[in-house]
Symmetry: C2
Subunit: 191 residues, 2 copies
């Protein structure tokens, strides 16, 4: 049974996922990662934040002395990924994407400049990856950027096949309070 | 001779600084660091970005099919510093502030949660610092966060004295295309 859920401010409608795991039902990947990062921060495991959405501000009004109200602004195309920070002394950088297809993850889901950015930080020694949530299977995968870029640059396909994701990706588990426990997976893959 | 200059979108007015260095005249520290980061990125020296200003979006309109126009939004207090990224394999995190006083840098210039953030990333192994531009002297200083926090937590003063800044701070030089060449100073201090 699917219902539609509207998140405040996002303007997007998410499909509620039918699963017996009530904690996760209807939660977006971004929401789950934000909760996870808050947990890591509070427990001093890692210091990783979502970057604010970049916007171009055109007009600001001052209805009262202390309050600035933005009355005209536009979304900008982000030049970097959504998340970065530090874990075990290493710079960590990743993009997180939900995938609603059952068979593959389309490359159009990731902007060209985000791939360029992940390439650049990788060169500088970052732990760089992509988190893909396969919504239909209710599974989260960590894809090391090095594996992604090797496939991306050698294929004529326009998507990552789900079989490839299962083979090359590393499953991210959830636990209480930590709906997308990706640093556990980072431990296994990078340390 | 001082003139006033208004930067687009910032809503702030900057005093033009009288100096024979025309390249720098009237440029804000933020502008200079952004130019510098672009140079580092293009030359593959470092990958450091300014985080977008965090805002809370209340209303978005769609005047045409492809264009989303934000018609109501408010500035949020940032929970992290303005700049982070990677340099020589290390996570780098800093806040940049202009100081118009001739004698000291007031602690009120830095939010309490930014100090908390710099403390947290330092614990995780970051290269963390504050860049202070002493506008009157037209000098930029890199203050290692470890020195800053030691002074901050042991003093009853409400500001960093300029004498302390001169003693503990590390001068950041400018060169052509690189108006605030802070990674040179990072090299000297941290490597």
């Amino acid at each position: 049974m699917n219902e539609l859920m509207k998140y405040p401010n996002s303007g997007k409608t998410y499909e509620k996922i039918s699963t017996h795991d009530t904690a996760r039902r209807g939660m977006s990947l971004e929401h789950d990662i934000n909760i996870t990062c808050q947990y890591y921060l509070a427990n001093e495991n890692a210091d990783i934040h979502k970057k604010p959405t970049p916007i171009t501000i055109v007009n600001v009004e001052y209805p009262s002395r202390n309050k600035a109200k933005i009355t005209e602004a536009y979304f900008k195309v982000p030049s970097t990924t959504d998340y970065n920070g530090i874990y075990r002394g290493r710079y960590v950088d990743f993009e997180a994407k939900e995938c609603r297809s059952k068979t593959s993850f389309p490359f159009t889901s990731i902007h060209a400049h985000q791939i360029k950015h992940l390439k650049s930080v990788s060169k500088h020694g970052a732990i760089a990856f992509i988190i893909i949530r396969m919504v239909h299977y209710d599974m989260d995968y960590l894809i090391p950027f090095s594996d992604f870029i090797t496939f991306f640059e050698s294929t004529k396909r326009r998507s990552l096949p789900y079989d490839w994701i299962k083979e090359k990706g590393h499953v991210i588990k959830r636990r209480i309070m930590v709906p997308c426990d990706f640093i556990k997976t980072v431990d296994e893959v990078y340390f």
